[in-house]
């Protein structure tokens, strides 16, 4: 696929040969995640998160399909059906805790994945399309997670739906009719619940389709790497299988251990107690907060408090959408030809300030509004926009990057005198004995 030296698929037995000639699925898999996909040999553990995100999607789809068999999207019984799953369905509690915490697991992985992309310049040529498809997936994930959170029909589900669909009413003129159209009523009710369930079931499959497009787009230039230096020849790469399948196996193990700690020992720690109270349109919770993965955006939304030309609410909604949509334009905002931030001394500082900034936004997004938390969210939101729209273009223009390594293999070997031959080509090592026998 991506490089001239990528190994073509060779069927190992007659059945695979027969299948490959008629439906080349084995060839597709081999080229995508098998020995036929050469990957830079210097990837660090941050490159595990793509596969981990795929694993999280798979976990959500499988547990979700089974939960969907027991859940009913009836406003008068949705809450009860969730309790039935927890109490009466065999292993229902495992399914639900995995699905519920799995959403957080998915977002945690995707956030690390996104920040890895920001640090190592994965949005730059020739991987712009990979990055943009990733943002599309992220937006779809947010929609899916929001609608999924409404399904248990608890207090926070209901009032979260009320607040989030209220965003649309901020749009001048068409806003309120649009909101009523989307909800199927003036407030979330049966119509909203049923359509949210339907879409919550649909969107993961659309996400899967975009994931396929993303992997397709990725395999044209091939994976990026921590130096940001292009792959120059065969010794810069290793075949995905067995090298990165083995590394991902270890990564999956570690991720599942951390995930299981939440599922089995802290299943409530990421949720909100109010969602164990059945939805009641007449009682507003004292403190409406979204799930943790939306806190930074909620902070941006609430940071705009002054009607300056436009109403404050519209500013907040525009800024919240802009904060994600601007990621589509990163390629053009960052004009530095250097991909990896490791070689960009000035931008590196701003990058870590951004990481801190998003955490501050997260804190401000879940806190009770006080003058202090409000000021915090305003300063942090201002930095967020300044970082991407003002600082990044300027820094990339004036910064003097550090010298880049001459090649990937050079950076891996740290100046050792001899290069070990690429996999499959050694003639001396014991590990290469099968190759030597050819």
């Amino acid at each position: 696929m991506s490089f001239a030296w990528a190994k073509p698929y060779e069927p190992k037995n007659n059945f695979m040969k027969w299948l490959d000639e008629r439906l080349p699925v084995p060839r597709l898999v081999y080229g995508a995640v098998g020995g036929g996909y050469p990957v830079p040999r210097n990837l660090n553990y941050f490159w595990n998160f793509g596969v981990l995100a795929g694993l999280a999607l798979l976990i959500q789809i499988i547990t979700g399909i089974v939960l969907g068999m027991h859940y009913y999207s009836y406003a008068g019984g949705a809450f009860e059906s969730v309790e039935r799953i927890m109490r009466d369905v065999n292993a229902g509690w495992v399914l639900r805790y995995v699905h519920q915490n799995g959403a957080s697991f998915f977002f945690a992985i995707v956030y690390i994945h996104i920040f890895r992309g920001l640090y190592y310049g994965s949005y730059k040529a020739p991987r712009e399309m990979v990055w943009m498809l990733g943002i599309v997936i992220y937006l779809l994930m947010m929609a899916t997670a929001f609608m999924g959170y409404v399904l248990p029909w608890g207090q926070m589900s209901y009032w979260g739906a009320q607040v989030i669909t209220g965003f649309f009413s901020a749009i001048p003129i068409v806003g309120e009719p649009l909101r009523v159209f989307l909800l199927g009523g003036y407030a979330p009710d049966q119509a909203a619940l049923t359509r949210f369930f339907s879409l919550h079931y649909l969107l993961p499959f659309i996400i899967s389709a975009v994931v396929i497009l993303k992997i397709w787009a990725l395999h044209i230039p091939g994976s990026s790497n921590p130096t940001g230096v292009d792959v120059k020849d065969e010794k810069d790469t290793l075949p995905f299988h067995p090298f990165y399948t083995a590394k991902d196996g270890f990564g999956i193990g570690v991720a599942l251990i951390l995930f299981s700690i939440f599922v089995f020992f802290l299943p409530y720690s990421l949720g909100h107690p109010d969602n164990y109270v059945e939805a009641n349109p007449l009682v507003t919770p004292a403190h409406i907060v979204p799930e943790w993965y939306f806190w930074p955006f909620y902070a941006i939304l609430r940071a705009f408090t002054v009607d300056f030309i436009l109403p404050a609410k519209l500013w907040g909604v525009l800024a919240m959408f802009a904060s994600i949509l601007l990621l589509f334009f990163l390629t053009w905002l960052d004009r530095s030809p250097v991909r990896s931030t490791s070689y960009r001394p000035a931008y590196k500082i701003f990058f870590w300030v951004l990481v801190l900034d998003v955490m501050v936004l997260g804190y401000a997004g879940q806190a009770h509004i006080t003058p202090f938390t409000l000021a915090l969210s305003q300063v942090a939101a201002a930095y967020y926009f300044a970082h991407f729209l003002i600082i990044l273009p300027l820094v990339s223009k004036f910064e003097k990057p550090l010298p880049l390594p001459t090649s990937i293999s050079h950076s891996v070997l740290h100046g050792e005198k001899e290069e070990s031959a690429p996999f499959g080509l050694t003639r001396t090592g014991p590990a290469a004995a099968p190759a030597a026998a050819e």
Binding site: F243, F250, F264, F265, P273, T305
Partner: protein
């Protein structure tokens, strides 16, 4: 072009945020936030040191049974338990015969239909029934309780911050508003003292709760296992029972968690070893040891040459 538009949008958002910041800062200085009586008098729940709160924690069956007895004799008069079925009482350590007897003797009967006349009637509870509610509907519940609705208790522990500790603190937290002093020694302001039908309790969010103190005197319940039924003991036991009703699978969850952990740890160690093995010479110079070592091969060859052996 993208950069120019982006720059202007960026300036716009930053500008409006800074205006908001200044307006709010001025406002906060001119009208400093005042502490409400709720903030001054509200107390954080006390920890009761429950057995399940550690990752390996399990319920204390005797405590759950005592808590169930408190629910049955005190709480059940007003509070439903609508998500819990009688058969689940197995988790408290009762056997089937005992649960059948409990269901059969439950003071409230299950709504039913008279099989002969088709009229609404009630029947005795079965194992598969959920706990019947003390009131027919919300209106009836409010009418009987001074317009306050006694919440369902099945999920009450999960539905409150600090869960069972909160329930325990609330049950033992009723005070006399007239004589109560907070940590700073201040009396409760007149407007925060309970009105008609309300009761002062500093653990409740707005300090005044509609529920009258449910557990008032030692020995209110005569425990079947002979435990001394102090107010504190009863509050603790019923909080434990309500923790169980909110998640009857807690013990199974903890046990499964440890099995999963051990499985994953072993698997991850094996995956790590496989990873290191496969990558053994991928990132560094390969140095071969043993008979295949180039120096050793050379030495063998030299010896053969010396002796005049061909090949």
């Amino acid at each position: 072009m993208v950069r120019i538009i982006g720059f202007l949008i960026g300036l716009g958002f930053v500008g409006v945020l800074l205006i908001s910041l200044i307006v709010n800062a001025v406002d906060a200085i001119q009208n400093p936030p005042v502490h409400t009586a709720e903030e001054e008098f509200h107390l954080e729940p006390r920890s009761a040191g429950f057995s399940w709160q550690k990752p390996w924690g399990q319920f204390d069956e005797a405590q759950l049974q005592r808590g169930f007895q408190v629910y049955k004799e005190v709480c059940a008069a007003c509070h439903s338990l609508k998500f819990v079925s009688f058969y689940e009482l197995e988790g408290l350590g009762y056997n089937e015969a005992e649960i059948k007897a409990i269901a059969n003797q439950w003071a409230i009967e299950v709504p039913s239909v008279n099989p002969d006349t088709g009229e609404n009637s009630t029947r005795k509870a079965l194992l598969s029934d959920r706990f019947p509610s003390p009131y027919a509907n919300e209106t009836a519940a409010r009418a009987a309780n001074n317009n306050a609705l006694p919440p369902d208790l099945s999920l009450i522990v999960e539905a409150r911050d600090d869960g069972a500790d909160y329930i325990y603190s609330l049950l033992t937290g009723y005070r006399n508003a007239a004589t109560y002093r907070n940590e700073a020694g201040e009396p409760v302001p007149q407007e925060n003292r309970p009105g008609t039908g309300l009761h002062f309790n500093p653990y409740f969010a707005n300090l005044n709760i509609a529920m009258p103190p449910p557990i008032v005197s030692n020995g209110q319940v005569t425990y079947a296992d002979g435990t001394n039924a102090t107010v504190d003991q009863m509050a603790k036991d019923v909080s434990a029972f309500l923790r169980w009703t909110s998640e009857p699978n807690l013990e199974r969850r903890h046990a499964a968690g440890w099995a999963v952990m051990i499985f994953l740890l072993v698997g991850t160690v094996l995956a790590y070893l496989a990873y290191r093995n496969i990558w053994a010479n991928a990132k560094r110079e390969v140095s071969i040891r043993g008979p295949l070592e180039p120096a050793f091969q050379q030495r063998m060859q030299d010896q053969k040459d010396e002796r005049g052996i061909a090949g």
